[in-house]
């Protein structure tokens, strides 16, 4: 590891000041489960590391009823998972969080870090895309709020400027009649990065008609993506296994995976189909059960 200065500011203002002063040379540290590896492997050589865990706003975890969840960027996944209202209102987020890394990793890792690291395979991204999450960003010019969809710009690239940071993710509470499912395919049960991950969130009306559909995919494009054509095939239709199959195939077509050491593009595309179909099927089954 290269030597660097370490700071642990207690306020957002102080953090922004440090970022501005460091110009390009600062790195933010949340749980460090991505950053520390990058530091050790010299993939990043910051002169300053700013630990953001002591900033109160970044540790906020609060569900404002009817509106949504304020998920501070530095909150650990285990804390998120312990939050009593999570499984009730945001089951697909809970399903994603609980499958990330391992118990030890989850006690350090944050949702903010997961999103800011911007891996195309980030476990929490597809669910948050389905939930229409927003990124609350602070910078020298104040705060701004963007849709998570617009946050990811490429592999390890986000809409954050050099002098900005993610304060929280705001997750609007989905309709009580919505049903969701998150699935990921890994070679190992734990300690693995998804070869493909898929989240679906359906709002179903009477007679199984789909009022709104969200389908998001990970690890199969330069960023986590929404499968819009699949969504369009589902919305406004009565869902049956044929509709689901067609949507799954559309999702596979919308993906643009690559070959890498974890899986081939061909396999990934096929698995998008399998996982999307299974996730949608599970939503339907859940909707059907009392």
């Amino acid at each position: 590891m290269n030597p660097f200065e370490y700071r642990r500011p207690k306020t957002l203002r102080e953090t922004l000041r440090l970022l501005a002063a460091a110009k390009d040379g600062a790195k933010l540290l949340a749980g460090g489960t991505d950053l520390l590896i990058q530091l050790k492997e010299r993939r990043t050589l910051p002169s300053l590391v700013v630990d953001i865990k002591a900033i109160p706003e970044l540790q906020r975890l609060e569900h404002v009823s009817q509106r949504g969840l304020h998920l501070g960027a530095a909150v650990s996944l285990n804390r998120v998972l312990d939050y009593p209202l999570l499984a009730q209102h945001f089951p697909i987020l809970a399903q994603a969080c609980v499958q990330l890394g391992s118990l030890q990793i989850r006690s350090r890792a944050s949702v903010g870090g997961n999103l800011c690291n911007a891996s195309p395979a980030a476990s929490t991204a597809p669910s948050l895309l389905c939930l229409k999450a927003q990124a609350v960003i602070a910078g020298p010019g104040g705060r701004r709020r963007i849709l998570l969809e617009d946050f990811f710009q490429g592999p390890n690239q986000t809409a954050l400027g050099k002098d900005e940071l993610l304060v929280e993710v705001f997750v609007p509470t989905p309709s009580p009649s919505s049903r969701g499912c998150y699935l990921q395919l890994t070679q190992r049960q734990e300690m693995d990065i998804p070869m493909v991950n898929v989240a679906c969130l359906l709002t179903l009306g009477r007679g199984g008609r789909c009022q709104q559909a969200r389908v998001a995919l990970g690890a199969v494009a330069p960023t986590p993506i929404r499968a819009r054509r699949a969504e369009a095939l589902l919305e406004g239709h009565a869902l049956n296994s044929q509709a689901i199959q067609e949507a799954a195939e559309a999702a596979a077509k919308e993906s643009s995976p690559i070959d890498d050491v974890r899986a081939s593009a061909e396999y990934r595309r096929e698995m998008v189909k399998v996982l999307t179909r299974r996730a949608l099927q599970s939503c339907l089954e859940e909707a059907a059960s009392p």
Binding site: M1, N2, P3, E41, S102, L185, Q187, R188, Q189, E190, M191, D192, I193, M195, V261, R262, A263, S264, Y267, E270, M271, V274
Partner: protein, 746 residues
């Protein structure tokens, strides 16, 4: 022997409290106050000539105390470049490149500096001009005439039936009977080619060494190793240092599985310490462990077998190609050994060893046997399927038994193969039908430990306690089992026995701990040391009691004359006399370097399910049965069976080096996937005890056999589940999906 009280018991490991509380001192914990840190420059290319290597700027960089290159090593070895070139193919270890690099990751220069950062920084100042050469990482391509040659002037004559390239560095052959006649008698003849990948031993603790040179030149080395004497030999031979000038102190070992049996970075550390005039510490990173240690060889194994309709094997013929990596190594005739489970009247096996631009391979638990058994045990399953025979019955029909000759003609002594098969036959996993959606696979394995040499020294201390010193390194609980033996022999409490692994200056010689030999050979040496001490004590007791030795009785740490238990003399009284010049100290010695050939057999059953859409394999249940002879400590023995099975299942399902253009793509534990507790069911051990006449209390070697069957056991289960024979490992979900897709079933 009366009923044992300490051996055979589940005695807790003596080393564990320190390990689980972080107190144990591993090699990387050794901290000499003025020691230098170090960093290694490694080749980024799979195959290249070194046109120019300039370390002058690094030598003068801030904080740098010494830089060594291949030239320095040759100088220390007293070799010229020309001699070195001639010797190269025969070198098993190749610590630093000199005129060319033969695999990506090969060490080119090593820097010692005051801090890790300074050493790292200095690496950036080293200039190397490489002239790239074509490389080859695939053994079948490497073998073909015209393939890029790794060691062009290699003078090894290979009389193969086919034309091969110079990369073939060794060929051996085993023949027995008349194969053509054997196949003619067969009702079915099957042939298949099986492939395994290069895998890593996966030890938790990376290599770490500290070397310090005293004012008189005497060198002390602290290292993580399976055998301190092996390290001493490796260093002394490489650097021409007499044994008397070298002391190797083994630290606690965080796993080795064969990869810590021989020197890897120790000679470099010593040479750096000599050059720098200060102690030097070297610690490998996980990535270095993957790219530059000694993984296990991949094997391509074509095997043909014939059998009669009632399931009797009539002949086997095969060719096994071992990928040795960058240098020629030793080659265990694994193909023969995996067929040695059965009576095969007609046999013809050819082994090739081929070099490729990959790290040199080394030992990994039961070296080369899992790969061989993957082929032969898969083939037996195929025969069982074609003949609609129960795979366990097929094995019982062909299993070798006491007195049968092995392929090399030595008759077997008392063995427990059939007993182990029978235990599985009675086990619920075989007796009961699998649940819907699950399939089972069975496979067997055998390992015959070599004895090698061990010594032990046992002292009785003035208060009547016992102190055992041995040269054997404790990798599996050896200190615990050896203390159990002493406690058993003298009727002691475990607390009354101190047990230490000495270093090369303080302990008697011992070969490496490995190959399932340690409990047997060191255990026998310890038993002999106990006998020696007993004889000395009895002599002393007889003199004190004024009776003849034959009339002595022993119990509760006391001797008395036959029939008069009231007048006794205690061990404490005898030992207490033997200090301050009042008498001779009681020190017993024992050694062992020869034991009978006593193979140990393992029979495993894997029960799995397959997700036919994703190809994902889930191991649902796993039973590992083994003839262990006598379990000196059942908990430790079961641990060997379980750990081995997990390694073998990982080899079957998810582990494997992935190369692209000569570069390893997955040199980390994220993308080199060893299985974790979350992936596996509890591994159920079944201990069978058919005593080995020569083993201590009948013990057989236990560490190697259980890694042999899992590859085939899992593959047989998967093949039965999907109805397609899997012949290549690992069976990742994508690989299984591809197999299904090729049949139009995914």
């Amino acid at each position: 022997m009366s009923k044992p009280k300490v051996v055979g018991q589940r005695v807790p490991r003596v080393d564990v409290p320190d390990k689980v509380t972080g107190r144990a001192i591993f090699a990387a914990d050794v901290a000499i106050s003025n020691a230098l840190a170090s960093a290694v420059l490694r080749s980024p290319h799979a195959h290249a000539k070194i046109r120019r290597l300039d370390v002058s700027r690094a030598r003068t960089a801030e904080g740098v105390a010494a830089v060594i290159t291949g030239q320095d090593l040759l100088q220390a070895q007293g070799l010229t470049m020309e001699e070195a070139r001639r010797l190269r193919p025969a070198l098993r270890q190749h610590y630093l490149a000199w005129d060319k690099v033969i695999y990506a990751g090969q060490a080119v220069a090593v820097v010692a500096a005051t801090t890790q950062e300074a050493a790292q920084k200095a690496l950036g100042l080293i200039q190397v001009d490489y002239e790239l050469l074509p490389s080859v990482t695939d053994v079948e391509t490497a073998m073909k005439p015209g393939a890029p040659a790794l060691h062009p002037n290699l003078a090894v004559r290979i009389s193969a039936k086919v034309e091969v390239s110079d990369n073939v560095v060794m060929r051996t052959e085993i023949r027995k009977g008349d194969v053509a006649a054997g196949f003619a008698q067969a009702d079915i003849v099957l042939e298949e080619t099986f492939r395994t990948q290069m895998v890593h031993q996966g030890y938790m603790e990376p290599h770490a060494v500290t070397a310090s040179v005293a004012a008189d030149g005497k060198i002390t080395v602290w290292t993580t190793t399976q055998g301190s004497f092996s390290i001493r030999q490796g260093i002394s031979q490489t650097l021409n240092i007499p044994d008397s000038q070298l002391r190797v102190i083994p630290t606690e070992v965080g796993g080795g599985f064969g990869a810590k049996a021989f020197t890897l970075i120790e000679p470099l550390c010593v040479l750096l310490a000599q050059k720098a005039g200060r102690p030097v510490k070297m610690v490998m990173s996980r990535e270095e462990e993957f790219i530059a240690a000694t993984p296990a060889p991949p094997v391509v194994y074509r095997l043909k077998m014939g059998a009669t309709r009632d399931g009797r094997i009539t002949a086997a013929e095969g060719t096994a190609i071992f990928d040795a990596g960058a240098f020629a190594g030793e080659m265990a005739p694994s193909a023969m050994d995996s067929l040695a489970l059965y009576k095969v009247p007609n046999l013809s096996l050819e082994h090739f060893q081929v070099v490729t631009n990959k790290p040199p391979v080394g030992a990994y638990r039961a070296p080369n046997h899992p790969q061989g058994a993957f082929a032969s045990e898969s083939m037996l399953d195929m025969i069982a399927q074609s003949l609609s025979l129960d795979p366990l019955e097929l094995r019982l029909r062909n299993a070798v038994q006491d007195g049968d000759a092995t392929p090399d003609g030595v008759p077997l002594g008392r063995i427990g193969f059939k007993e182990t098969l029978q235990r599985i036959r009675e086990h619920p996993i075989w007796r009961e039908k699998p649940k819907a959606g699950r399939s089972r696979g069975l496979a067997c394995g055998v390992w015959t430990p070599a004895a090698l040499t061990s010594t032990a020294q046992l002292q009785v201390t003035p208060d009547g306690s016992f102190a055992l010193t041995m040269g054997s390194v404790d990798i599996t609980g050896v200190r615990t089992t050896m203390a159990q033996i002493v406690a058993e022999e003298f009727g002691l409490d475990m607390k009354e026995v101190a047990v230490t692994t000495g270093d090369t200056d303080t302990a008697g010689y011992a070969d490496v701990s490995g190959g399932s030999r340690t409990t047997r050979t060191t255990g026998t040496a310890v038993l002999r040391a106990c006998q020696d001490v007993k004889a000395q004590l009895r002599e002393r007791a007889a003199a004190q009691l004024r009776v003849s030795i034959e009339d002595l009785e022993y119990g509760d740490k006391k001797f008395w004359a036959n029939g008069s238990p009231k007048t006794s003399v205690s061990i404490e009284a005898i030992a207490g006399k033997a200090v301050f010049g009042r008498g001779d100290v009681i020190v017993g010695h024992g050694q062992c370097s020869r034991l009978g050939r006593e193979p140990a057999y393992a029979v495993h059953v894997a029960e799995i399910s397959v997700d036919r859409e994703t190809g994902q394999v889930q191991v649902e249940r796993y039973v590992a049965a083994q003839d262990v002879g006598f379990a000196l400590n059942p908990t430790l023995v079961e641990g060997q069976l379980q750990g081995s099975a997990v390694q073998g299942i990982g080899w079957a399902l998810s582990e494997g080096y992935v190369y692209r253009n000569g570069i390893l793509q997955n040199p980390n534990f994220l993308d080199y996937r060893m299985l974790t507790a979350a992936d596996l069911p509890p591994i159920e051990p079944v201990l069978v005890e058919v005593a080995a006449p020569d083993g201590p209390y009948g013990a057989r070697g236990v560490g190697e056999p259980p890694i042999i069957p899992p590859l085939a056991a899992v593959a047989n289960a998967v093949s039965r589940a999907i109805g397609i024979r899997i012949t290549s490992l690992p069976m990742t979900s994508e690989a299984v999906w591809r197999a299904l897709k090729a049949r139009g079933q995914a």
